[in-house]
């Protein structure tokens, strides 16, 4: 047995073991100090999967060759093993057989491992034992390579081998460890950390770790980047090692320097997420160039193309990323963005009629074991490639197979496509049967919502309110509707006042609802106490889903309150666009337009994005393009008429309404109504489409449909959400009630506060400054601290008409001053702010700053920030940005979120 100490020469830049933690090892293991090279791209083989990003078939190439077929099969096997190994068990084995036919090297041991894993993941352990697969590997264990032998040993350790002989497994592992197997050493380290290492293993955990990670680094061959990523992951996941993001980054940087495309992209992401003071623009450009130059994104056949046109491609990515923009300031919230590991793809603006993915799905749908979901995916690909309307008939045939196979998602899509023929009673009957069957058999809640929309909006002669309300009530009872909450409401959700919304968001997110996961992550970001591990977990969940990522990215932009935050959010939307692709091109264009649309270069990019989206039949893009360019609507429609006819979405059909003949209009309206959302917005669009053709009776009918919507017309709700309306006056959560001295006091406060909110907003129907002032006066006069301080805070924010009436009754300044004099810190802070907000001269400002100083010096964290602002800007005293920074750092140390908003501002001022 040989210990391979020779490996040490490769990696010993630094290796400092620290004392063992209970279950993790703290190890500072840096990558070797090597000059940059291109090791990871030497002799790349076509079948290597570790460094290749597979495009989802968005390219124009139409011939599916065997290497790509094998890649797609590999991914298909992994996906099914992860998502439904039991339900798709036979299908996975069929895929393994198919892959083995195509790739002889895979057909041996690798295929056996895949089959074993399939049995294991499906929980078919008895059946696995009967197959003798593990025994066959055990019989030839001396001929297996080290990692395969260790893998077999793990089966035995876990009792999967059909024999209960853990000692045999340990011997195998120890033998391979002595031979120098990194994976065996890692296994022993794991045992040591659990306290289960064999007695005859004499090395310490630290020594084992050194050898294990040194072994992972291994030789300087083209696999080094993949292995460096393994080490980076070890420093991120905290399984064996104490997490250390800095070391993880160091390993990725090492891999990037050796030509690893994925690693280079990770470095780009890291640099994009860094604070401005730590950003190195030269590094960013360098690693961006490495990422693109080394073929991130793409299949092997495109790598050469990209390499040949490197400058142009890099420039394209730069434009998409917007990396040339000057930035100032700092993030204001805890952010999960640094934990998002996104992909980047290049794609065409248009869509080819055929794709490798389409061919592949046809092939695997032909396997007798194919699950229904494969047919559904095939139907979606047909609709994407051929167009929703030109591919409809073909998709319907496939969807019927999927529906028969029990996929409720297919049923919903099939019903929607069939409903274009909504004037046919037999089609309507089929749609009703399909959707109600999806509810009763599959418990598929979206089908209830579809039935409500069918009866409320989509049937000729609608609304049929009895039927619609029956299904609306059923959907409400199921309580699975997505939580609707705006970005701004989300960021200030209060556990005391909106506990139901928070609880439902969390439940839906945990249940796997993509949009809810994004909203939940936004909510977590609004709390600086959210642990990094939690942020990392949800960031990973969000990054895995296109819908979640899109939702999250767009909300980041909505929530940006400073120019710096907006620039950063726009960059993140760009990254999301690179990851998701054309599906969010329109949203990306809108973000760019809001962010920097007046910039000619950006305007050009927006034009390209809208052009692509318009060619894909997205009506909103066509409409926006026309408005931005003020082009003749007739000419604009003529440009995209073919796309609208072939694949136009709801809005595209609406745009077409005033440009087509009567027969086409009727067809397009049927198409639009079949796919519309039964909401105020879509209903208004339909009504206006009828109006555009002077069809007043139909327009009126659609207006009546709009009137029938639960909760009424959206615009009649001001800015209040349905959840807020539903919660009106229902009582406070236990968290709030438990803090109140008595129920009576809480109720009194609540009523007065609600009265103030209802009457203090200028422009609202209920604006009544007298009533608002009365509520404040009563709150101030109730004698409780909470009432007075709440009133003081809202008095400052109230309009003059309200303040004047309060002033006519009492002196809030005087009341606060009395309490402030007694040493009441909260009163001191409120008085300081009140004096500042209502200052009539320099004396008021000086007094304001003095009160804030007193409260800050006594440890009031929020007052520290307000005092720092006064000091920094010179309010009521001479400015001193360095002194302001000192106070902000104290506040920051007390986890005061606002402190971080101002630190970069005063840091910049101090530098000047």
């Amino acid at each position: 047995m040989i210990l391979r100490y020779g490996l040490a020469a490769l990696f010993c830049a630094a290796l400092f073991p620290a004392p063992l933690a209970a279950e993790r090892l703290t190890l500072s293991f840096l990558p070797p100090d090597l000059p940059p090279g291109d090791i990871c791209n030497r002799d790349r083989e076509r079948f290597e999967e570790t460094e290749i990003q597979i495009d989802d078939g968005a390219s124009q190439r139409v011939l599916l060759d065997d290497p790509h077929r094998v890649q797609l099969l590999s991914r298909e096997i992994r996906n099914w093993q992860r998502t439904d190994p039991e339900g798709a068990f036979d299908f996975i084995l069929a895929l393994i057989d198919r892959k083995a036919e195509l790739e002889p090297d895979y057909g041996g041991t690798p295929a056996v491992f895949d089959r074993i894993d399939t049995y294991r993941l499906a929980g078919r352990l008895d059946a696995l034992a009967e197959t003798g697969l593990i025994q066959s590997l055990t019989d030839q264990i001396d001929m297996l390579d080290w990692s395969d032998a260790v893998r077999v040993a793990r089966y035995h350790l876990n009792g999967l081998g059909g024999t209960d002989d853990p000692d045999f497994a340990r011997r195998i592992i120890v033998d391979r460890a002595y031979m120098g197997s990194a994976i065996a050493l890692e296994e022993i380290l794991r045992m040591q950390l659990r306290g289960e290492a064999p007695e005859y293993w004499t090395l310490s955990a630290e020594e084992t770790a050194k050898l294990a990670f040194g072994g992972i680094v291994g030789q300087l061959d083209r696999g080094i980047c993949h292995r460096a990523e393994r080490i980076a992951q070890a420093y991120l996941d905290g399984d064996l090692l104490t997490p250390d993001p800095t070391l993880a980054f160091a390993w990725r940087k090492f891999a990037a320097d050796q030509g690893g495309a994925q690693a280079a992209w990770r470095v780009v992401e890291h640099l994009l997420n860094a604070a401005p003071s730590q950003q190195n623009r030269a590094d960013l450009a360098h690693y961006l160039q490495l990422a693109v130059g080394n073929g991130i994104v793409v299949r092997p056949d495109l790598i050469e193309v990209i390499a040949d046109s490197g400058a142009e491609t890099e420039e394209q990515l730069r434009r998409i990323l917007g990396v040339d923009r000057a930035r100032a300031g700092l993030e204001t919230r805890v952010s999960a963005e640094p934990f998002m590991e996104l992909d980047v793809r290049l794609f065409d603006a248009g869509i080819a009629d055929d794709s490798e993915m389409l061919q592949f799905l046809h092939e695997i749908a032909g396997l007798p074991e194919a699950p229904a979901q494969v047919y559904t995916r095939l139907a979606r690909e047909i609709l994407l490639r051929k167009g929703r309307w030109t591919g409809r008939d073909e998709a319907i045939v496939v969807l019927r197979q999927a529906a028969d196979g029990g996929d409720p998602e297919a049923i919903l899509l099939l019903a929607e496509l069939l409903l274009v023929e909504r004037r046919s009673p037999s089609v309507v009957a089929e749609v009703e049967a399909l959707l109600s069957g999806a509810v009763t058999q599959h418990g598929y809640a979206p089908a209830m919502e579809a039935l409500e929309a069918l009866y409320r909006c989509k049937l000729p002669g609608a609304p049929y309110l009895d039927d619609a309300e029956y299904w609306a009530e059923a959907a409400r009872t199921a309580d699975v509707a997505a939580v609707m909450v705006s970005a701004n409401d989300l960021a200030r959700l209060d556990r005391r006042y909106e506990p139901e919304v928070i609880a439902r968001l969390q439940s839906h997110a945990l249940a796997g609802a993509a949009r809810s996961a994004a909203l939940w992550l936004q909510f977590l970001q609004s709390d600086v106490r959210t642990p990094e591990t939690v942020l990392r977990h949800w960031a990973d969940q969000v990054a895995r889903s296109n819908i979640a990522l899109e939702t999250f990215a767009l909300q980041q932009f909505d929530l940006a309150l400073t120019p710096r935050a907006r620039a950063s959010a726009a960059e993140f939307v760009a990254r999301a666009y690179l990851d998701i692709g054309p599906a969010i091109a329109l949203e990306y264009a809108i973000t760019l337009l809001e962010d920097r649309g007046r910039d000619p270069g950006t305007a050009s990019l927006i034009g390209e994005l809208l052009e692509g989206a318009s060619l894909r039949g997205e009506g909103a893009a066509i409409r926006l393009m026309q408005r931005l360019t003020s082009a003749d609507p007739v000419e604009v429609f003529a440009t995209y008429a073919e796309a609208v006819g072939k694949r136009g979405d709801f809005l595209a059909q609406m745009i077409a309404a005033s440009h087509v003949d009567d027969a086409t209009f009727e067809l397009y309206m049927d198409r639009a109504i079949s796919m519309m959302s039964c909401t105020t917005k879509d209903i208004t669009e339909v009504a206006e489409a009828y109006l555009s053709r002077d069809m007043g009776a139909e327009a009126l009918r659609w207006m009546r449909i709009g009137q029938s919507l639960p909760g009424g017309h959206t615009l009649a709700k001001l800015r209040i959400s349905d959840a807020q309306i539903a919660a009106f006056g229902i009582g406070l959560s236990a968290a709030v009630s438990s803090k109140q001295p008595t129920y009576e006091v809480a109720r009194g406060h609540g009523d007065l506060q609600r009265a103030f909110y209802a009457t203090s907003v200028p422009g609202s129907d209920r604006f009544d400054p007298t009533a608002a002032a009365r509520a404040l006066v009563l709150l101030i006069g109730d004698g409780t601290d909470d009432g007075t301080l709440w009133a003081a805070k809202h008095y400052r924010q109230a309009v003059t008409a309200v303040r004047d009436q309060v002033d006519a009754v009492l002196s809030l300044r005087g009341l606060l001053a009395e309490r402030a004099d007694t040493g009441d810190l909260e009163a001191q802070a409120q008085l300081g702010l009140l004096l500042r907000d209502t200052a009539e001269g320099p004396d008021d400002l000086a007094a304001s700053t003095q009160w804030l100083r007193l409260a800050a010096r006594a440890g009031h964290a929020e007052a520290m920030v307000d005092y720092a602002v006064a000091v920094g800007f010179g309010i009521g005293r001479d400015p001193d940005s360095r002194w302001a920074l000192t106070w902000l750092e104290r506040a920051d140390a007390m986890q005061t979120r606002r402190a971080r908003d101002f630190i970069p501002v005063f840091a910049a001022m101090a530098d000047q």
Partner: protein, 148 residues
């Protein structure tokens, strides 16, 4: 539960007290109102003849339903009912169709109670209901109308 309440065992020897444990994680609402309506109707099983009900040549049942709280009881004898499609038609020709299908976890029994709630067709007092069963039984199922 619906499997037991629609079984011959329950019909022949119904217990006085039945304790039903519903796991907290089970969302009974996902399958719509039909599941609970069937359980309530099957537990009561008080299907009486509706005055004026008659069966037409094609087997469809016509009756004055007086609102939408009615339940059809289908009894296929010894055959199990996996799926039922109910079509309710008003005198003016308007129709509603609903499909009720047992879940994979359900016990298939010869009886099924089908709620007509939400199929009232705007308060039409006289409705005609026809049913299609799957698998199709050898003999026509016995169709009764119960008050839900």
């Amino acid at each position: 539960m619906s499997g037991y309440l629609t079984s011959g065992g329950y019909a022949q020897d119904a217990p006085e007290v039945l304790i039903w444990r519903v796991p907290v994680w089970m969302n009974a609402g996902l399958h719509g109102p039909q599941q609970m309506a069937e359980i309530v109707a099957a537990a009561a099983d008080n299907c009486a003849e509706v005055p004026g009900a008659y069966r037409s040549n094609d087997g469809a049942l016509s009756a004055d339903l007086h609102g939408s709280g009615n339940v059809l009881r289908l009894d296929a004898g010894s055959a199990g009912i996996q799926k039922v499609t109910v079509r309710v038609e008003a005198p003016d020709g308007r129709a509603r169709v609903r499909q009720i299908q047992r879940t994979a976890a359900d016990t298939v029994t010869p009886r099924m109670f089908v709620s007509l709630a939400g199929m009232g067709l705007g308060g039409a007092s006289h409705l005609r209901a026809s049913v299609t069963l799957s698998p199709e039984p050898k003999t026509a199922p016995e169709v009764s109308l119960c008050q839900g």
